[in-house]
Each structure stands twice: as C-alpha cells, then as structure tokens.
C-alpha cells in the first residue's frame, strides 16, 4: 500500500499530466524560448513562449524527465496561458515557497490547481524536478541564450 507522503506526491492529477502532458509541442513564431536541464538527473525541458503586450499569449514545452518535472511543466503551461509576466513571476515565487514548505495558507490558496504539487515539500531531493520548468520559463521570458540549470 502507498504511504501517505507518496500518495500526496503522486496524485492522480500528477500521473495524468505526466502520462499525457498538455501543450507538449514546439511553437512556431515563439517570441522566446529556453532550454533547462538538471545535470544531476538528466531531466531536460524546453519552454516556448509567445508574449504580446506583456501577456503570455501561449506557452508550450518539450522535454523528458520524471513524472514530477513533466507534470509540473504541463500544469504550468495550462495555468499561465493568458496571464501576465508579473503573475508568472509571482506564482513562481509562491511555487518555490510551497515546495520548500514555506508558504502560508493564503499563498497556497493563490496557487490554485498548482497545489497538487504541494506533496513535493516532503521530498527535498525532488524540489528541483518541480521547479525546473519554472526556472526555464523565467529564462525564456528573459531571452537567456545560455541553458539554465537547477543546480
């Protein structure tokens, strides 16, 4: 039987997103893109963004990695579509706080659907899996040409 921490981490929503990642495709006409990698575990993530008037009109991703990193990327692309760059940065900060178990109740509420990743807080070695897509997105928004890493 699955232990409670494990059940929290690998919720059905997570498994569903990792098996059938949403927005998993390259983007033609992207205004920004960035590659991210976690050199210690080999996870890779490429984020494509289309920004107009400071709004994330569209974002997609490609990559390979564990269920947590794939689901996190998939959820991120869903949540952020149509949101402003400031909202993206704000949610990233809240995400980081949540997976490090530093977020307040109201901050967690703000994260909405992303709270399915809250279970990561009990798995310190997996925090980097959940945050890799977000780090990569920030690089895409800043048009960084160097690959980003979570290390």
């Amino acid at each position: 039987m699955m232990n409670a921490d494990l059940r929290d981490l690998y919720q059905e929503v997570i498994l569903d997103h990792s098996r059938k990642p949403r927005n998993f495709k390259p983007m033609s006409g992207a205004t920004g893109f960035a590659k991210g990698a976690n050199p210690l575990c080999g996870d890779e993530c490429t984020i494509f963004t289309s920004v107009k008037d400071d709004l994330l009109q569209d974002l997609t991703f490609l990559g390979k990695g564990c269920a947590i990193s794939q689901a996190s990327a998939s959820l991120m692309t869903q949540i952020l579509k149509g949101k402003s760059r400031q909202t993206a940065e704000h949610l990233f900060n809240l995400m980081k706080k949540m997976v490090r178990d530093e977020a307040t109740v109201s901050e967690i509420e703000e994260l909405g659907k992303l709270t399915v990743l809250a279970g990561v807080k009990n798995f310190p070695s997996r925090v980097k899996c959940a945050t890799l897509p977000w780090h990569t997105l920030m690089a895409a928004l800043e048009h960084k040409s160097e690959p980003v890493t979570t290390e």
Binding site: M2, N3, C41, D43
Partner: protein, 416 residues
C-alpha cells in the same frame, strides 16, 4: 544460506552472520527494514571499521611523522601498518608502491597530472573506453588540454561489451597510457583486464586499472595482473569515505614528478630548490587521512577473514537472481548484458522515469541508485537519460532481491 570456505583458516561465509556485523543493516526506512542495494555508490561499514575509527581517535590520535612523543609514534605505526595491510591485500611487491589518496578519482588525477605530464612516448594518445566513469574521462581531458594529447576511446557494443578488435587496433597505433575500468559501474561489465594489459604491454603502453568496482568483488593480485597502476576507493570496499589507494609500479612511480607540494613530500626545502622525499611520501603532501587509512585497513582485514571466492560466488548468485527476477517482470529493459558481469544490474522501465521508481522503492525501504551514474557517455550511447541500478554487497540476500522485485512490480503498476 552459507557457502563453505575452501581455504583452511578462513571464516565460513554465512550471510546471516555477516549481516550482524553491519549495524546499519538493522535500520528501518519509512517503517520498513532497510534493503540496501546501492553498494556501487558506497558500501556500509562493519562494526570493526567503525570501532577502528573510534579506537584510533580515543587512544592514538596524533599527527604522524612529526613528533617524538608517544602518541605520534603510535599513530605513525598504525598508519604504516595500514599501508602494509593494503599491500598484502592486493599483493603489491613493495609497500612503498601503495600511495594513499582521497579515492579513485584523486588517484587517477594524480597519474594524469604527474605521469601524464612527464612521461615521454612516441605517441601522445591516451586510450580509454566508452564505458568509463567521468573520473576516468575528465582528468585525461584536462591533461589533453594542457599537453595537446589526443583522447582515443575503445567502443562498446549494444550488450555493453568492449570491442577488442578496435582495442587492438588503437593500441597498435601506440599511446602514452591505457586507462581502463575493470568493472563498469553503470553496466556491470567485467572487462578482460589481463588480456587488455597484455595487449597494451606488447606495444609498451602502461596500463592504469580503475578498480573502484572490482576490488570489493574479486581477488586482486596486481603482480599477476601486471598492472602499472591500480586505483580504488576505501568507501566502496566497506571502509571509510575520503580514503583511497593508488598502486603504482615502483619504477614508474620513481620516475614521476610529485603531485601536490607541501609538508611530508619533501626531503629538503630552500627558497632556491626543494628535493623530494622517497616513495610513497613523495605523493602524499600534507597530513593524510590517518584515521581513514586505519579504517580502510580494518575493512580489508574484515574481508580477509573470508575466501574472496565465496564472496564473489554469493554476489554473483544475487546478480543472477535479480536479473532473472527483473526479466520475469516484463516491461523492463536491462542495460548491459555482457556475458561477464559483476556487482550491479542497470535497467529502465518503458514509460517510467528512474527517479520515480527510486522514490517509490525508497518508501518500501529499498535504496537503489537512479541517474546517469557519472557515466553520461554510456547513457548517450544507449540513448537514455538515466537508469535505475541495483548493486550488491556481501551482506545482501535473495530475500532482499525478492522484496526489491515485488516493490518494483507494484510501482510499475501504479506509474505506467
């Protein structure tokens, strides 16, 4: 289960008795008994090693080769005795051929930075294999950048077996050194090291053997091997972390310049010029890991109670049992199917990332390694980002392998 020792005077190898010697094996992890299958990363320590460290610090701690006081003499004697224990364990001819390092990585770096810089040869090539750990790739790349040497790589096939025809062709072109892993940490392949050493020596190419994954699984006799260098780590052979060994043939070591400069490695120092101490001290600048050396000797003493053949047979049984168990699960692809394997089985599950497997197994108390095993070129060759790896030590049991396979089966059902 026990395997009768066939050497008179040896302690009978009985895995239940062996387990009782390792305090950590009684631990519970997430409420389950620990099943430790990450021995290729590091091994657990027997009580005798832990006691040797504690005893040294409680009764004999002092700096060596320095003072006339009694503790220093005692510590120096213990450190010297440790070196002799290591010499005997790998059957080196001379005790000064045993150089203490921090581990296999530092041992290889030492050779690259000294022999690699100084040795003259008609051909500047450094020959390695496609299954090397990063520690037997990067030091040579650093050397190549400094000296313009060329790195040549002996390829492997889809089973993870070295291409000996390609090896023969590369060696025939000549080279400065053949630096080769004895047993691959990522694939478990046992390389035909005697044959490769002979082949290299026919072309006057010295050979460094990376024994990080072999010395704990089989009897090593450096004279019989005719290796020029043999490197291994203490912590992978039931000893402490931070200590390792470089064996080198005395004639070669004498020709090599020093590695680090500092205390203990000098004979005389003036501001104009310094002269070097004799072997092995020439390569051991600064206060060494005294306790580590003593702990490593205790680990080798522990292993020496047993017939290494009995340990090898037990570990081979576990490897075969695990391989059969994994194959029976289906959905699993074993990476590395060499006819000669030892110590470890690497695998991938289609559609499931190794890290997710690792997290689930951890919650059943099972420690395995997931990742690229510091062998990214091996992962690239097999076109996979990572593998899961179960690796065995003398204290593992068939029952543990069964727990591992059962946990894996449940995990695959949930994740795939």
């Amino acid at each position: 289960m026990s395997v009768a020792a066939n050497i008179p005077g040896c302690r009978e190898f009985n895995v239940d008795h062996v387990r009782a010697d390792f305090p950590i094996l009684g631990s519970m992890i997430h409420g389950r008994p620990l099943v430790y299958l990450d021995n290729a990363a590091t091994t657990q320590k027997p009580r005798s090693v832990i006691d040797a460290l504690v005893n040294y610090y409680e009764t004999s701690n002092a700096n060596i080769h320095r003072a006339v006081h009694q503790l220093s003499e005692r510590a120096t004697a213990m450190h010297d005795a440790a070196r002799e224990t290591i010499r005997r364990f790998i059957n080196a001819r001379h005790v000064e051929e045993i150089i203490f390092t921090r581990g296999t990585t530092e041992a290889i770096n030492l050779v690259a930075a000294t022999y690699g810089i100084s040795a003259s040869s008609s051909n500047n090539s450094i020959i390695i294999t496609a299954m090397e750990h990063h520690s037997n790739i990067v030091p040579w790349q650093l050397l190549a950048e400094r000296t313009g040497a060329t790195l040549k790589v002996i390829p492997i096939d889809k089973d993870g077996v070295l291409d000996l025809h390609a090896a023969a062709a590369l060696l025939a072109e000549g080279g400065k050194i053949l630096s080769i892993v004895h047993i691959s940490n990522a694939l478990g392949t046992v390389n035909p090291i005697n044959q490769l050493i002979q082949m290299a020596h026919q072309h006057n190419i010295p050979v460094l053997v990376d024994g990080a994954q072999s010395v704990q699984h089989m009897k090593i006799n450096v004279q019989e091997l005719d290796a020029d260098f043999f490197a291994f780590s203490g912590h992978k052979i039931y000893g402490p972390t931070g200590i390792g060994v470089l064996y080198g043939r005395r004639e070669i070591l004498n020709q090599m310049p020093p590695f680090n400069g500092g205390g203990d490695m000098i004979r005389t120092v003036t501001f104009e010029k310094s002269t070097w101490n004799d072997l092995p001290y020439k390569f051991e600048a600064g206060t060494p890991d005294i306790a580590g050396a003593i702990g490593l000797a205790a680990a080798l003493d522990y292993l020496s109670q047993f017939d290494m053949e009995a340990i090898a047979a037990h570990e081979h049984d576990l490897l075969t049992y695990a391989t059969n168990g994994l194959n029976a699960l289906g959905k699993i692809r074993i990476i590395g199917n060499a006819p000669e394997k030892s110590g470890a089985v690497s695998f991938v599950v289609d559609g499931v990332h190794p890290h997710d497997l690792g997290t689930f197994l951890d919650h059943d108390g099972i420690a395995i390694r997931t990742g690229h095993h510091c062998a990214q070129p091996v992962m690239d060759y097999f076109n996979i980002p990572a593998t899961a790896r179960a690796s065995f030590g003398l204290y593992n049991t068939r029952e543990e392998v069964e727990v591992f396979c059962q946990s894996l089966e449940r995990t695959i059902k949930i994740l795939s």
